[in-house]
């Protein structure tokens, strides 16, 4: 998994390099399969080991898939999963602690209690705010980490850190690392799918799902929840399916003639196959997003019939279908664009969170229900959270907004390999700062990789003179308490 080691093949380049470049990533593994099916590797050096197989974890994985429910903008911990009675007690008083409050010169208000009621749920009695009545039904499945912290108070660098482990652009994202480390499962679909909010993408857009310095085949593929799900998937306007096939047949015939003069060129053959794969994807990908044939009860459960929940519900339903089809990593964004269109409740955190929680709570609960019903629950890891949290103080005296808080915030994990019904770590009594068992974003990454069977210290990619890691050079740890 580390540095590319020359390992000669008759393909004109090292076998490792070749498999690497077509393999592992989006639709690449399919090419490998096809080349194998066509006997390309037969009788050639190194063929005995077989092509880069999908899924080669470092140790037995607890989860095969991961769904990251990204609450873009930064949900407030004290309004969601981190109840603070002391905050209620000191409501309206100025904050006198030592945490650096707020971002970039925004006005600092007074301590502001949560207007949302916290109830204990399930056997475990995990407290969850009234923002999530549906998700709360699965309290015993959720493992809340109340002591998350990150290194930045800005959205751009915060999103990058949560997605790529670094506040700098250009680093591969978590999904790209999983694609690189584990390969794809399905021939005809990308292994890493991203679905954004109709109001827009997160700040930094594609740099949040980039493959960075890795081959582009590992990058997240944007899936649209309606129309044509992939870029350029649809046949050009005015071209019928029959014409498409006819032209592809011509292309194939001419390319195969050309290949006869260069029988040892793996790239040429791979390229021929890539057109056939693309053609098949036109059908597969389109059928995955076609949720019209789902029964009415399912559509209702995901909230497809309500305006508020329809979009996120549709994405959650497509998520289930993508999981069924072997997609490795799916990231869903709630919130897009700026400020109140995201969880970034600077002006009115109360209304903001009612809106965004209201849009997502029911669909997320439906996804959990559905995954449990289909058995996918046992192989799927769910991660919920944003790039940071929000201050227990208001933004400006007497205002209902909250500013960014990167010293402490909450996230939850659930599903395969996760011990539910518990809250790990704690922020201080007002909810500003992680004080007990603080978990850095890198620790979360180490834990996610671990659950998917990868050791974050061994999953490396050689670039610019270093074996690069998702978790960087500092010590990060698997959060053991998360593990079931």
């Amino acid at each position: 998994m580390s540095r590319f080691i020359p390992n000669p093949t008759p393909c004109g380049r090292s076998r490792r390099e070749f498999l690497w470049q077509v393999g592992g990533g989006f639709a690449g593994i399919a090419l490998i399969d096809l080349l194998s099916d066509s006997g390309f590797f037969e009788g050639k050096a190194g063929a005995a080991t077989g092509p880069f197989p999908p899924g080669r974890p470092h140790f037995p994985a607890r989860a095969k898939h991961c769904v990251f429910l990204f609450m873009n903008g930064g949900p407030s911990q004290v309004d969601t999963f981190d109840p603070k009675p002391e905050l209620t007690k000191f409501n309206g008083l100025p904050y006198r602690g030592d945490a650096k409050v707020g971002s970039n010169g925004r006005p600092i208000g007074h301590l502001m209690q949560s207007p949302f009621d916290f109830q204990e749920h399930g056997q475990s009695g995990l407290p969850i705010s009234s923002l999530f009545p549906h998700t709360a039904k699965f309290a015993d499945d959720l493992c809340v980490i109340r002591s998350m912290f990150t290194d930045t108070a800005a959205h751009a660098s915060g999103c990058l850190q949560m997605n790529t482990g670094s506040i700098f652009i250009g680093k591969p994202s978590l999904g790209a690392w999983l694609s690189y480390g584990l390969g794809a499962i399905n021939r005809n679909l990308p292994s890493f799918v991203v679905m954004t909010d109709p109001r827009g993408g997160p700040i930094g857009s594609a740099s949040n799902w980039t493959a960075g310095y890795m081959p582009a085949s590992h990058q997240g593929t944007l899936f649209r929840s309606g129309g044509s799900p992939l870029l350029d998937l649809a046949t050009p306007e005015g071209t019928s399916d029959a014409t498409q096939r006819h032209s592809l047949d011509l292309l194939k015939k001419l390319n195969e003639e050309h290949l006869k003069q260069h029988p040892d060129e793996s790239e040429l053959l791979a390229r021929i196959e890539s057109y056939e794969l693309a053609y098949r994807m036109q059908t597969t990908a389109a059928s995955v997003i076609d949720v019209e044939h789902e029964d009415e009860a399912t559509r209702e459960m995901y909230g497809l019939n309500e305006k508020r929940t329809a979009d996120f519900g549709r994405k959650c339903l497509i998520t289930r279908r993508l999981l069924e089809n072997g997609v490795r990593f799916i990231q869903l964004y709630s919130g897009g664009g700026h400020i109140e269109d995201t969880w970034d409740g600077h002006n009115n955190c109360v209304e903001n969170h009612k809106l965004h929680a209201g849009e997502t709570d029911k669909p997320i609960a439906a996804l959990i229900t559905d995954l449990k019903r289909s058995g996918l629950w046992d192989e799927t890891l769910l991660v919920w959270g944003g790039e940071f949290g929000r201050t227990p103080t208001s933004e400006g005296v007497g205002k209902p907004g909250r500013d960014h808080d990167w010293h402490g915030f909450s996230m939850w994990l659930a599903g395969a390999g996760v011990k539910g019904g518990q809250a790990i770590g704690a922020t201080d009594e007002l909810g500003f700062k992680a004080v007990e068992e603080p978990c850095h974003v890198g620790d979360l990454h180490a834990t996610v990789l671990h659950l998917l069977g990868l050791d974050h210290t061994k999953l490396t990619y050689f670039h610019q003179g270093l074996d690069q890691r998702l978790t960087g050079v500092l010590d990060r740890r698997v959060i053991q308490k998360v593990l079931a």
Binding site: P8, P10, G12, Q21, G25, A27, G28, A45, T152, A153, A154, A156, S157, I167, F168, I169, G170, T196, G200, G201, P202, I203, G204, S205, A206, S207, G212, P215, S217, T221, L222, S228, L231, D232, L233, T235, P236, A242, T243, H246, S247, L248, L250, L251, E257, H258, H262, D264, E265, E267, L268, R271, I272, S274, Y275, A278, M281, Q464, G465, L466
Partner: protein, 803 residues
């Protein structure tokens, strides 16, 4: 003698060996000494060197190499080869084979005295690791007899001066056209191999056009060359191509990859870098004007400090400001060092082929580069400041010192006029200002950093890279492993510290062991697909050794001393060689032995870069807009790709078709939103130096090239062109299409296949229309079929993989 008690050979081998040796040799033989040790012979029989490779090396590598290997030799001890472990350091051997208890290595790792225990940093070795070491030593401390002892850093080939190796003699006197061929052929002849035959004239013509200009040869160019094709005639073609603007537009892109060029900053606002395109234009002009490469270095690093600095040389320093930039950094102090890191890392990689950036937080783990080396380079660039007003970046006027002084004078006067509101009317002030502006017009603006003062700030080594933990103060210096004596950094000049000029002068010096090798290798890589060193940004210990080290040195020496750093001369030399003119024909025998073509027995096969693919499509369709230079254009991006952006309505304002039909080097590279077609076809990393493009083969490329809007638009133009230039005769259309796109007429069966396809497709379309009761004329059906043919041609493997 105890230091020599390792067993590099098996006992059986020893006995076989000893029969042929004198008694004296036997006595001196290490293995013989071992025989005298009780108990050793018994254990060695069972032991093998596997344990060393499997268990011992990883432990030593992980915990000991950082101080005891080719990089550093504390107490003169190296542990990175079995023989060296036995040889030991200044305190004697590290081990006594067969006797772990007496071995200093084990004693030191077991020690409970804090000052004695090894390794001194971090946790002690684990009991398991210690047990492995003990067993290995007790079993005779065996290692593979063929273990290569790594060279020390100081001995590393790339750090040695460039030599001028003699050009080898070869048996086949007819094949070589120049020295390159003799170096390559000599290696092939050593194996009894023959180079691939020279490629056919059509293939060569297309190859040379695409290589030098990124555009296919026109019909006229094909006809002209093919009237009397010869090796000399191709030389003429090469000369002609090198004098075209298209050459610079092609080759500048290669350099832009290396220097992480992009038109925006990345990060949250991903703002446009104002006037950054002037740097891109500078590179194009520099290449077209064949600016000597040493001068090219001086201008990019110190164009403002040079005597005779002018607008052009100042624009060149834009190199330093091309990096990504966060206009709202979480931690401004760290951000400052991040910016410096971007410059230092890119400079070291681009010009020296060194991964110096790894030494920011600790001494480089694999290269002889220390944090001191790193921060000494930081000291060179530390005086630079980024002109900005809050989050907004500013561009600066550029010109000669005189021009800038006059401009400053004018602006001073304008400033004073603007104060005189008591004595003058607003209209009068405006009038006088206008007069001043008319007399002294504005200078062009450029996107560059500036050194605003002559007293440079103090630079510290930052412990663990943390700005909060300053260590010793460092002066500007170059990596110490590269020099016996530091180059001179002049004291501050009148305007600036002069530090960058000091660095640039050393880099551009003929004595620098890396600069010429690195650029010669980059040029070679673009011509052949692979460099002579296949890690073009890494000439350090971790880089790959050269496939043809003598040739690399000969070329580097020639480049500096004969060609006087002229890149065009270097192109001519390489392209004149028969090595470059070889065909790509397969050879199963050679391929089995040398699958990566490291011996250069043929021309390697490779896909065109996305720029050349896109530009070729435009050229073939007749739509290429050859307008050069100036602000970047924005090709259309599908709405679907914009959906995922924060400001999806405003983020991308596409240019009109005419503007978007310019060459791809003029396309706006937005770090947060790369044009999907460019991205999917492996555009380089936009954030850090990209020494070599990836070549991936994935289905989304097929989707983009077969279904994408750009290709289908060009398909229609291509068809229209065929109708105009070839008339309605299908055979003529097919023939012309082939010549335009592939530089050759179609083979008989290809032409037949195309004719058949077109008949079938048109017939099918007509039948379909009839069935659906749609009106479709025969002309329309024929045209639609023609367009499909063009679409297929653009997607042929041969179109993107030229011979």
């Amino acid at each position: 003698m105890t230091g020599a008690l390792l067993v590099p050979v098996s006992l059986t081998e020893y006995f076989r060996h000893s029969k042929r040796c004198s008694f004296r040799a036997r006595v001196s033989s290490l293995a013989f000494m071992l025989m005298l040790l009780p108990g050793v012979a018994r254990t060695t029989r069972a032991a093998s060197s596997t344990a060393y490779e499997r268990d011992i090396k990883p432990i030593l590598q992980q915990r000991c190499y950082s101080c005891h290997s080719r990089l550093k030799q504390k107490s003169e001890l190296r542990l990175d080869a079995g023989a060296l472990i036995g040889k030991g350091g200044k305190h004697g051997s590290a081990i006594v084979a067969g006797r772990s208890a007496e071995s200093p290595l084990l004693q030191r790792v077991l020690s409970t005295v804090e000052d004695e225990r090894m390794p001194p940093e971090g946790k002690p070795l684990t009991p398991d690791q210690i047990a492995l070491l003990r067993r290995w030593i007790d079993d005779g401390a065996r290692y593979p007899k063929d273990e290569v002892i790594p060279q020390t850093a100081a001995e590393h080939w790339a750090f040695q001066p460039v030599r001028q190796p003699p050009v080898p003699t070869v048996k086949n006197k007819r094949w070589p056209r120049n020295a390159i061929d003799r170096f390559v052929l000599a290696k092939l002849e050593q194996r009894g191999w023959k180079p691939a035959p020279v490629a056919g004239p059509r293939a060569l013509l297309r190859r040379v056009h695409l290589d030098l200009t990124g555009l296919p040869p026109t019909l006229a160019e094909q006809e002209s060359f093919l009237q009397a094709p010869s090796a000399d005639a191709l030389d003429q073609v090469i000369d002609g191509l090198l004098s075209r603007p298209a050459y610079g537009e092609r080759w500048a892109r290669h350099w832009l990859d290396v220097v992480r060029y992009a038109d925006s900053n990345g990060y949250e606002r991903d703002a446009e870098k104002p006037f950054v395109w002037r740097y891109r234009d500078y590179v194009i002009n520099a290449l077209n004007g064949d600016k000597p490469f040493d001068r090219f270095i001086l201008e990019q690093l110190a164009g403002d400090e040079l005597p005779g600095a002018c607008a052009e040389t100042m624009i060149a320093t834009g190199f330093q400001r091309l990096g990504h930039w966060d206009d709202e950094p979480a931690d401004p102090e760290t951000d400052r060092y991040d910016q410096l890191d971007d410059i230092v890392s890119t400079t070291a990689q681009a010009f020296l082929g060194l991964t110096l950036g790894c030494a920011r937080c600790h001494d480089h783990k694999f290269e002889p580069l220390s944090t001191r080396d790193y921060y000494s380079m930081v000291a060179v660039f530390n005086p630079l400041r980024r002109p900005q007003k809050g989050r907004t970046e500013l561009a600066l006027p550029v010109g000669s010192r005189e021009e800038l002084a006059v401009l400053a004078g004018r602006d001073g006067e304008i400033g004073r006029l603007q104060q005189q509101t008591n004595t003058l009317t607003a209209a009068e002030i405006e009038k006088r200002i206008q007069k001043l502006r008319d007399a002294t017009p504005d200078l062009p603006q450029a996107y560059i950093l500036q050194e605003p003062a002559t007293n440079p700030p103090v630079t510290h080594v930052l412990l663990r890279g943390s700005p909060g933990r300053p260590g010793e103060v460092v002066a500007p210096a170059v990596p110490s492993v590269l020099v016996n004596k530091q180059p001179e950094f002049q004291p501050s000049g009148e305007r600036t510290s002069g530090r960058r000029l000091g660095l640039a002068s050393w880099m551009a010096s003929p004595d620098n062991s890396l600069t010429a090798r690195v650029i010669v290798n980059r040029v070679w890589q673009q011509h052949f697909g692979y460099g002579l060193v296949r890690t073009p940004n890494d000439f350090g210990l971790m880089g790959e050794p050269a496939t043809h080290p003598e040739l690399l040195d000969w070329l580097a020496h020639w480049f500096v001393n004969e060609a006087h750093w002229s890149l065009k001369k270097l192109h001519r030399l390489i392209l004149a060689s028969n090595t470059w003119r070889m065909s790509k024909a397969p050879n199963p025998e050679y391929a089995a032995a040398d699958p990566e073509d490291r011996l250069l027995w043929r021309m390697p096969y490779r896909r065109l870069e996305v720029e050349a693919i896109r530009d070729s499509m435009l050229a073939v369709s007749g739509q290429l807009n050859t307008k050069g230079f100036g602000p970047s254009m924005k090709p259309r991006i599908q709405q679907a790709a914009l959906e995922a952006n924060t400001d999806k309505e405003s983020i991308w304002k596409p240019s009109d078709d005419l503007e978007a039909s310019r060459r791809t080097i003029y396309a706006f590279i937005k770090r947060g939103l790369v044009v999907p077609m460019l991205e999917v076809l492996d555009l380089g990393d936009t954030v850090s130096s990209c020494p070599k493009r990836q070549v991936t083969t994935v289905a989304p490329q097929a989707l983009s090239l077969f279904n994408g809007e750009f290709v289908n638009q060009q398909t229609r133009h291509f068809a229209a062109r065929l109708l105009i230039e070839a008339g309605s005769d299908h055979r003529k259309q097919i023939d012309l299409a082939w010549r335009l796109a592939l530089g050759r007429p179609p083979a008989k069966d290809e032409a037949a296949t195309m004719l058949e396809f077109r008949e079938q497709e048109a017939g099918r379309l007509l039948a379909e229309a009839a069935k659906e009761n749609r009106s479709l004329s025969n002309t329309e059906a024929q045209r639609a079929a023609l367009e499909q043919m063009c679409r297929v041609i653009y997607n042929l493997n041969e179109f993107v993989y030229p011979e």
